[in-house]
Symmetry: C2
Subunit: 228 residues, 2 copies
């Protein structure tokens, strides 16, 4: 595929947010003498993500960075799970800046970077994504974020950022994600699409199927690099 630029979803596609956030919650909880089903608490936090983004996309509230939304969601999660004793909420919000990459992410990106410009295209903010890429060693060429469009994926204005900044037709951009909805929205914006299954994102055994019109499907990023 001759796409000059590959744009990557990050949470789930490149990094294992669930294990990392569960561990951060568990550590903060233990320090406060609290016990809980920490992966379930992490899932509860993440499950508030789409509704929070939807309020921004629909215009119900003005744009706020994902750090701000994460802090608001965390307050709700703490109340729901009766974890009010937990300390350092700001530190937990910053845990989203240091997430563990999947084992194939760094070698796969490194191989893909030899012939393509690589960028995240994530709902994380520019600062979050830059710190995350440093901490996880993700070798990007630049950092593009939904923040630069003042909205969130799947708003089409986010996908349009990539061809606009690089002054190329949208078919020169390949969007890679493990979420079918992300790829459907990228396709509607004219981008090419690549799917990687990440069943472990939610601790499951099987991943959702890719959209039928996905341009390329690969088991992981190392396999994707071999296919392109």
């Amino acid at each position: 595929m001759d796409a000059e630029i590959i744009a990557f979803d990050v949470f789930g596609t490149l990094v294992d947010w669930r294990s990392s956030i569960s561990a951060a919650l568990e550590q903060a909880g233990r320090s406060a003498g609290l016990d809980a089903d920490w992966p379930a608490v992490a899932d509860s936090w993440r499950s508030r993500y789409q509704p929070a983004l939807a309020r921004v996309i629909s215009g119900q509230r003005p744009f706020a960075t994902l750090d701000i939304l994460h802090a608001e969601m965390l307050d709700e999660v703490i109340a729901e799970h009766q974890l009010e004793g937990i300390g350092d909420r700001a530190g937990l919000v910053r845990a989203w800046h240091r997430l563990t990459p999947w084992p194939d992410s760094v070698p796969g990106l490194t191989a893909l970077r030899a012939r393509h410009i690589l960028t995240p295209l994530s709902n994380g903010g520019v600062g979050l994504l830059t710190r995350l890429a440093r901490a996880a060693g993700l070798p990007f060429d630049c950092i593009l974020s939904a923040e630069l469009a003042g909205t969130y994926k799947p708003d089409p204005r986010v996908y349009a950022l990539v061809p606009a900044f690089f002054d190329v037709p949208p078919e020169q951009v390949l969007m890679v994600a493990c979420h079918p909805g992300d790829l459907q929205a990228a396709r509607r914006a004219g981008l090419r699409t690549g799917f990687i299954p990440r069943p472990a994102e939610w601790g499951l055994a099987t991943a959702p199927a890719p959209p039928a019109d996905t341009d390329v499907v690969a088991d992981d990023l190392i396999a994707l690099a071999a296919l392109l």
Copy 2:
């Protein structure tokens, strides 16, 4: 210095635009059977830069990327130097995406990156800077551009991008440049400032003096890394 983020001017500070653009002009001229004082033609092109930016900063014209401004300036330079036979003007505009770094730029940035987040903060667009960083091997953590503020340096909105994206006070950002005016504007925006002399930028023997309140002055980026 405990600045978390270092932002770099690019044209002149990190890369030798004059030699690179002179060579590109000479190659395009020779292909067309033309001869000229190519460094002088390069200087003529670059000398149109500040007036072109000033029209955007003042609001006389809406924001246009540096690629667009470079193309307009090139048309003027070609007319002034009677080089109408020169071909591939788009290729010459793209020559600004592939400029040779100064010998200390890559090792200096590599050393600085161990303890600081590195970004360009340049009037080049996001696409230009990303392609330039790849071609020159400049190891940035993200790509910030005046384009993201819809104006150009020295407009204070450009400098304000860095603390805003990283959610830090401005004194956590060190702006490094070889141009006193860039550092004066960065200082007015609350950033710390670092000066590197680059007399060869314009083929001269001596560089301008840094502003008196510059936080750190070093001979080159390797020396700067040793100082910080």
